[in-house]
């Protein structure tokens, strides 16, 4: 046992036991620095080649007049940025990107907390419940969103049908109005709510899984001690469990924020940014301008507006996560 202590203290067993049997590859493997570089190299090269360089290319595009037809990079300075900023579509897209992300993630964190707690218990039918809850994660977002597009259809929405049946919609003195349909995706407020709803729906399974991981990591004796001390369930949850899983909750939040802020699929399928441009978001607007409209420069400029925001969010969350771990 003394040997073990010594080994952990020096942490370089390869230096301490030079005479041990050499197996094949040991020559290489003994040089840990070299092995570390070899192990790390593929990941670093991949990231530099396919994220780093394209990222700077994106900046170059945003400063140029490149189009799909003529992709030569003639630098035009900040013209793309100033032109983009002046459009009302851009301002709306900027606002909506923030609004959708913040509201959707607030709802997701609240719901995922409740769901993670109820799903951590044992109950009959848990297997089925788990499958049902994970379903939104198990089909491409584009196809899941098509499901919602039908549910929110202007003529055939099943929700409208139910509301009509219970007398809330379509009667002369119905609570939601005499019209037979609410046209969820055709009215500003309802369309905004619909986009948020779909984001909540698709992020919830992942957030729940991450929070369940947090809950299982809490040592049992701490919870049992709290119970022995006479604390009730919700009090334990708020005063013991939640503070302990805050770091991982911020990880869940980080994923949710990134996924929602950078997503263009939900709005692309559900509303195409409409009605008018009331549900436009930055990534979708960048796609419409850059690929659909062929103006690579302006598209890249719009997309670049996402980066500082993402960076700030990530640094903030990772920092607070580490501070929480220390205390």
């Amino acid at each position: 046992m003394a040997e073990t202590a010594e080994r952990t203290a020096t942490r370089k067993p390869s230096e301490m036991f030079p005479a041990r049997e050499l197996s094949s590859g040991a020559f290489l493997a003994d040089r840990e620095g070299l092995l570390g570089i070899l192990f790390l190299a593929p990941a670093v090269l991949y990231i530099i080649g396919l994220v780093g360089i394209p990222f700077f290319l994106a900046i170059a595009f945003s400063l140029s007049d490149a189009t799909i037809g003529d992709a030569s990079l003639d630098i035009v300075g900040f013209r793309n940025f100033s032109r983009v900023i002046q459009t009302p579509q851009f301002r709306r897209a900027l606002f909506d990107s923030f609004f959708f992300t913040i509201v959707a993630q607030f709802i997701v964190i609240v719901l995922a907390n409740i769901l993670a707690v109820v799903m951590s218990r044992d109950f009959r039918g848990k297997w089925l419940a788990r499958t049902l809850i994970i379903l939104p994660w198990a089909t491409p977002i584009s196809l899941g969103t098509i499901g919602w597009k039908w549910i929110l259809d202007s003529k055939f929405s099943p929700i409208d049908w139910v509301l009509q049946q219970v007398g809330l919609l379509g009667g002369p003195d119905a609570l939601l109005g005499p019209g037979r349909h609410l046209t969820y995706l055709g009215v500003e407020g309802l369309a905004v709510s619909s986009v948020i709803l779909v984001h909540v729906w698709r992020i919830l399974p992942l957030a729940t899984v991450i929070l369940m991981a947090g809950l299982t990591s809490i040592p049992r004796d701490i919870l049992e001690q709290a119970q022995v001390d006479g604390a009730k369930f919700w009090r334990i949850h708020f005063q013991v469990s939640i503070p302990m899983i805050l770091p991982i909750m911020s990880i869940a939040l980080l994923f949710g924020l990134i996924f929602t802020f950078t997503d263009m699929v939900v709005t692309f399928i559900l509303t195409r940014g409409g009605p008018v441009y009331y549900t436009q978001v930055l990534p979708l607007w960048a796609w419409f301008k850059g690929i659909d409209g062929g103006n690579l420069g302006e598209g890249a400029a719009i997309a670049l507006f996402m980066f500082p925001v993402l960076l700030a969010t990530a640094i903030l969350i990772l920092r607070s996560a580490r501070r929480m771990e220390v205390t």
Binding site: D30, F39, L50, V118, F123, T131, I133, I134, P140, I146
Partner: protein, 281 residues
Amino acid sequence: MQAIMPRLKRAGHYLIVAAFCFFTAAPFLIMIVNTFKQDADLYRPQNNPFIYNVPPTLDNLRLLFEGTNYLGFVRNSLFVGVLVVLITLVVAVPAAYALARLAGSWGERAGIAIFLVYLVPPTLLFIPLFRVVTAFGLNDSVWSLVLVYPTISIPFSTWLLMGFFKSIPRDLEEAAMVDGFSRLMAFFKVVMPLSLSGVIAVTVFTFTLTLHEFVYAMTFISSSDSRPLSVGVPIELVRGDVFYWQSLLAAAVIVAIPVGIVYNMFLDRLVAGFTMGAVKG
């Protein structure tokens, strides 16, 4: 009185679970019902949308499987997903191990730096990568997706696995190395078997990313033969202004149910992977 309280509590518990299940699964229920609906039934707003007012039909499935390249899309998605998972594991596992064990004090910071790469989203990179893919001559090929998708999965996977390897005591490998194993063999024989949950978590996460990815697939690929599910289905079943609703909805639920069941089987492993990788690491 005392017997009633636990029962009420249990009922409340089931009620909450049921409400959540309804929220997540109701769209799929409607998809299943609509899969077999005739046009004459579906497109009459006064018809009950939850039952068959006109006898059900298999025509919509026939359109999906025979009138579109649906099976081709499924094949492409699986092909891309499996290859990207393999590439991700081959690249991220050694990188994570190097950062956790071999890199010393700058390993932690390098790990965070790699995680930050995850913040450069596809919606920012698709314009330059469109040019890169063209330069490689991979336009219109599933290989463009195989090449590009690991940029989304490697940063996250490296970060999670790094946490995972850190939670495995160093002593285990070092004991093996004293017994004559090289560092490399100690890694494969001792560390990897203990990291199964982490590998499964990364596999599930990566496969999901490839299944969901839309922007790159939409930008790089313009022929039906090479499209994955996420873009192939909406493009082929929305013709002009006409939505083939029943077939669209069928396409979604046919993927969701088997994938959901497989994910559920691995869910405990996934949770364990996140616990070790993201909490303790």
